[in-house]
Amino acid sequence: MSIVQTAATIDHMVGKEQRFQISANTSQWSAVVVTNRLGWWQRRALQSLYEISSLPENWDSYGSRPPTENAVECAKRLIIQIDRDNFLQPRIIPISGGGVQLAWHSGVRELEIEISTSGFIVEYLKSERGEPLDDGLLEIEDRSRIDTFLSWLIA
């Protein structure tokens, strides 16, 4: 079952574990994230992610498809793996063609992480006062580097 096609977010309680379920068919757990270990900002970000995954065709008025399942899944992994309980809420933005962007703002600094349509290419951009400082490619599993970026953001 496609996450993109069936994105209906259900905050479902199973025992003492709070979970997010993405499925129109509640008999199937097509994607489950145990959220009781996640920070509030992460839960909110996942909710936003699920919302944009259900965008219709031509959501941007220029004929784009909704974010792809691969891009959404990659963004979800990124959000979950950040080991910071109390952090800034990122804006979750769909990219024309099927990608996803996360954007954090702190003072004059901004960090964007963009996931390609395929989910395989991740790019970052650091900026200050709206002016780009540094950009490049990023490995989604490179937690140390991502943490360095987040530390820079709030320094």
Partner: protein, 128 residues
């Protein structure tokens, strides 16, 4: 694919328009102004714009009344390394495509960020 040639028949003072989805607008906490997300200028394809002298705000927003509209000049676009090529469509003779310096000729993240900063609102729909 050959590198696209910038269409010099589109003068520097020509204004270029692009629609912005309501939810892709955020309030910049520093400037306290509404800005389009830089992601509005990113794609896995070339970026569609409308040549202002060949259309009108009303025509561009006709089928998308909830959308906002931004403008920037061809000079501003060129100053950050982008190019423009006419791409008239049957339903939109003013349609053009914007190219950047990212691989494949796409608009790069830095270029998209700069566009999001330099563009101006023609129509800003709030109440997001």
């Amino acid at each position: 694919m050959p590198e696209p040639q910038d269409d010099c028949s589109i003068g520097d003072d020509e204004k270029l328009l692009r629609r912005i989805r309501p939810k892709d607008i955020h309030l910049n906490p520093i400037s306290n102004q509404y800005r389009p997300e830089s992601g509005c200028f990113r794609s896995d394809d070339f970026i569609s714009v409308h040549i202002a002298s060949l259309t009108s705000e009303e025509k561009v927003l006709l089928d998308y009344p909830e959308f906002s509209l931004v403008e920037f000049t061809a000079e501003e676009m060129r100053s950050i390394g982008c190019k423009i090529v006419r791409d008239p469509l049957p339903e939109d003779p003013a349609h053009a495509l914007m190219y950047g310096t990212a691989p494949g000729g796409y608009v790069s993240k830095s270029q998209a960020k700069k566009l999001s900063k330099i563009c101006r609102w023609v129509v800003l729909k709030r109440g997001l």
